[in-house]
Symmetry: C2
Subunit: 521 residues, 2 copies
């Protein structure tokens, strides 16, 4: 090759000074370059194209945004968010280099999936690695999710995806052969059984270090509700101390970097409103395996407005959980439960925490459905104990609860994690929603109740939510209150009230209209 | 309903002051709110969620970014890009209101498509409308594209999508029954036949007001190349004047807002690297119909490194074009052409413009393949003229070109649009790439040549690109130059040279290895 003119055949890369741009770009790195930046012009970068940023031997990928304001970044600067700067392991003012980024190599596999091909273990490992390294833009993740959802992942693909997701993050390790856990596939408001199962099972002496998520589209996650009572963002070191002392914990899993690919996929799945069985199984099992669980009870609620609507779908989902869990060395018991209505009375962090504490205190007003469901689930977890006879778990769980040992264990877990100093109360703006006729409550729409609670401000406003006064099968008179909406802020109250106007979520009719369900409990 | 506590049941919306944020967010509206903004907290907005912004009865949707820097937006301000502010029809400092945005209603149809359902005309109309109104985030567009690509759109769905895309933008109207046009499905570098077909057909007296795109992933679009010679961003008013006087024009279609949904879809398709026949047909035909064309010649190049690789695919694509065009009242003639190698010599705006002018000037050095292909295509367009006998088009086109009337028409079109004042030259940094052995050129990789030209700086740097000295079938000696890479900037030169090191894109072998092609010409 002959080079004419002044130049070298080595790619050159100009150097820019790193600057902090205080924009929260969530899970997508964004790089800001000034339109007058020589590099921007010379290298033919295009707005929204992907660039690779190098500093000190480290590199990250980012989506390029072009800026016309030197107050944000100057022509010789490169702007990054705080999080991106720390991922890069660099500091403000440091010299960084920028170049065109190649699209992630594993997008070839995604395109093959779009064509309907079956992906191998290596393909899925490469996809998970590129996602974990933030090489995928959100639209590329959407392409993967839809392609995998549409042709479907077969069960070996689900297994390989689960394995690939576990491989990308941290893993927690516990001293003990049996690390118990429970998980619900979701979709049922108020279903706060974990906060009962954990203290009961820990009081029985089994290890149950539960990591939970915060709500993404629901009015409360277990972490949001536990936070009403205790600190949930605890360091891995502290978590180990709590678990060593109390056998159980209820913390937010976000700090531990467990299966981070899952969080990234969820950040696209939720706004898209897509949710496929294969991805659900990979998501749940990868998180559990990464959290060090060995024995897992999975709760699949089935009902007309639950996430899973038909028994046949619940059974197919159960088989898929079993297939993947068995092959990845996790012992999973899947239980199909009644998902026709919310569990307990409260929907929203404060109201749900109140229900949980009523059950633990053996309060005569405690919601009996929450108590029953938690005891049955705790019983199943306790039966993982080789010394417990099949069928005895429920009685053991009930004894622990009735004797007050459940409450005592919960108090110790709260103290160990750090008791919440703020005192949260239900929101002071209250709307009572009355029955529009005499009759029996024959349906409660889980989605609509969750939506109302969310619009009222849950989970960000912990006191916001819905308090159910009537449940399925209850007789009501016209004008009698069905539920109360709690809000703290007038704007939220207005949104929730407008939603109630659209539909109360309740239907009052004659008792024989109530849908049947053939679940285990 | 009984409301207790201070509140109303009407949704309230606080007012914020509009501020300009000078970040180029391309086709996605982004709203910037300060983390301390009361509204952000009170309404439970989440970063990257969608919000609706109201002002003066107008509204737009935007993705919410959360900002921690009052230099960007203050707690009582809402930041928007210049483009979003003007879409909103508002001004900096104006009072705006923000609320949660509902996801676009047509996402339900997208989810049905993901499930494999066939979409009706109404579904596709609703999707196109929501996309045009920027209600879709990029990941939602990706979901639609992949879902539609994977299960495939049947031909009626393609027709309905085309119709829906036409319905969303402006339409150009011409005085005349026959408005001719030509279009190539792309993938072939240097294939600048439009700049020859337009003056030849206009010189024949037919109306051919050609709107073209700029390059997105290729080293040059017709608009980029024409811009070397003339203004291409002309107002609709000026366009009509040019066409009235000269019968032909070669302008950039971007200012006319023709089928804007197409541009938005392309902005996701290209970075994803997905390209499906159904979407290609809808994209091309919607743009042509919106541009007011009645008679269209479509060029489908077929070759091992072209966009369409097999004759069977080209035929299927031709039938789909014909089916949709016929039903939408556009007369389309589809021609399958030889796509085994780039057309002409130059790749990149300046080098391609040089080829075009050589052909128009009847320069003995003019690339004969470009001349032949342009004459054949122009001949087909001319045969749309009812007074021209079938088969006579080529001769008429050749007479126009040989007589200098083609050149004269091109000069008048250039003058009418506005002659380019800048003088562009090929980049002064030159790399000559030699043959590595004696033999015959048996393959030239279209993708690799385009990539090298792009890395050298095309199309942003108009003088950058590749100049082919040898074409398929040419005998070469070891060390003899195959092509030259031109660049203006050292960094670009380095990138291109590194790419050439990976692969020159040429293969020299024995003449019988050359792939055959059974195209029309």
């Amino acid at each position: 090759m002959t080079a004419r003119g002044r130049s070298s055949s080595e790619p050159t890369s100009a150097t820019l000074a790193l600057r902090r741009v205080a924009i929260d770009t969530y899970r997508e790195n964004v790089a800001y370059l000034h339109r007058q930046c020589e590099l921007y012009r010379a290298e033919g970068f295009q707005a929204l194209s992907k660039v690779e940023i190098h500093a000190n031997g480290k590199r990250i990928l980012a989506v390029l945004n072009v800026v016309d304001d030197v107050a944000l970044v100057g022509p010789d600067e490169l702007g990054l968010s705080e999080e991106a700067i720390s991922t890069l392991g660099s500091e403000v003012g440091a010299a960084v280099q920028v170049s065109h980024a190649e699209p992630p190599a594993s997008m070839d596999a995604v395109r093959r999936k779009i064509e309907g091909e079956r992906l191998g273990a290596d393909d899925l490992m490469a996809i998970a690695r590129d996602i974990a390294e933030r090489r995928y833009a959100k639209m590329e993740i959407a392409a993967f999710l839809v392609a995998a959802g549409q042709t479907g992942l077969d069960r070996d693909e689900v297994m390989n995806l689960t394995r690939a997701m576990v491989a990308q993050g941290e893993r927690l390790h516990w001293h003990g052969d049996l690390v118990a856990d429970k998980h619900c596939v979701g979709g049922l408001p108020g279903n706060r059984t974990s906060m009962l199962v954990v203290p009961i099972v820990a009081a029985h002496g089994m290890l149950i270090p539960k990591t939970s998520s915060r709500a993404i589209t629901s009015p409360a996650g277990t972490a949001d509700t536990m936070e009403v009572l205790a600190e949930v963002e605890v360091s891995p070191k502290k978590l180990h101390k709590v678990v060593q002392e109390e056998r159980g914990a209820l913390i937010w899993g976000g700090t531990a970097n467990l299966a981070p690919v899952d969080d990234i996929l969820i950040s696209v799945e939720r706004p898209l409103g897509v949710d496929y069985p294969g991805q659900m199984v990979a998501s749940i099992l990868s998180k559990k395996i990464a959290a060090g669980s060995t024995h897992l009870v999975i709760d699949i609620p089935v009902g007309p407005t639950a996430k899973v609507r038909h028994m046949r779908d619940a059974l197919a989902l159960r088989k898929l959980f079993e297939y993947v869990a068995d092959r990845l060395g996790l012992f999973a018991q899947v239980i199909i439960t009644d998902g026709r209505q919310p569990v307990g009375r409260g929907i929203g962090p404060v109201l749900e925490a109140r229900d949980v504490m009523q059950v633990l205190r053996n309060d005569p007003d405690a919601p009996s459905d929450l108590r029953q469901k938690a005891l049955r689930l705790a019983g199943r977890v306790i039966e993982f104990d080789p010394d417990v006879r099949g069928g005895d778990g429920f009685d053991i769980a009930r004894d622990i609860l009735d004797s007050g040992r459940g409450l005592a264990k919960m108090q110790r877990i709260i103290e160990a994690q750090g008791r919440q100093r703020a005192v949260y109360e239900p929101g002071s703006l209250v709307l009572e929603v009355p029955a529009d006729s005499d009759g029996t409550v024959v349906s409660i729409d889980n989605f609509q109740m969750a939506r109302i609670a969310r619009l009222a401000g849950a989970p960000m406003d912990k006191g916001a939510g819905v308090d159910l006064l009537k449940k399925l099968g209850d007789r009501v008179k016209k004008g009698e209150a069905l539920y109360r909406v709690h809000a703290t802020f007038a704007a939220d109250f207005g949104f929730a009230a407008a939603q109630v106007e659209c539909s109360s979520g309740y239907r009052v009719g004659s008792a024989d209209e109530m849908p049947e369900v053939f679940a285990e409990f």
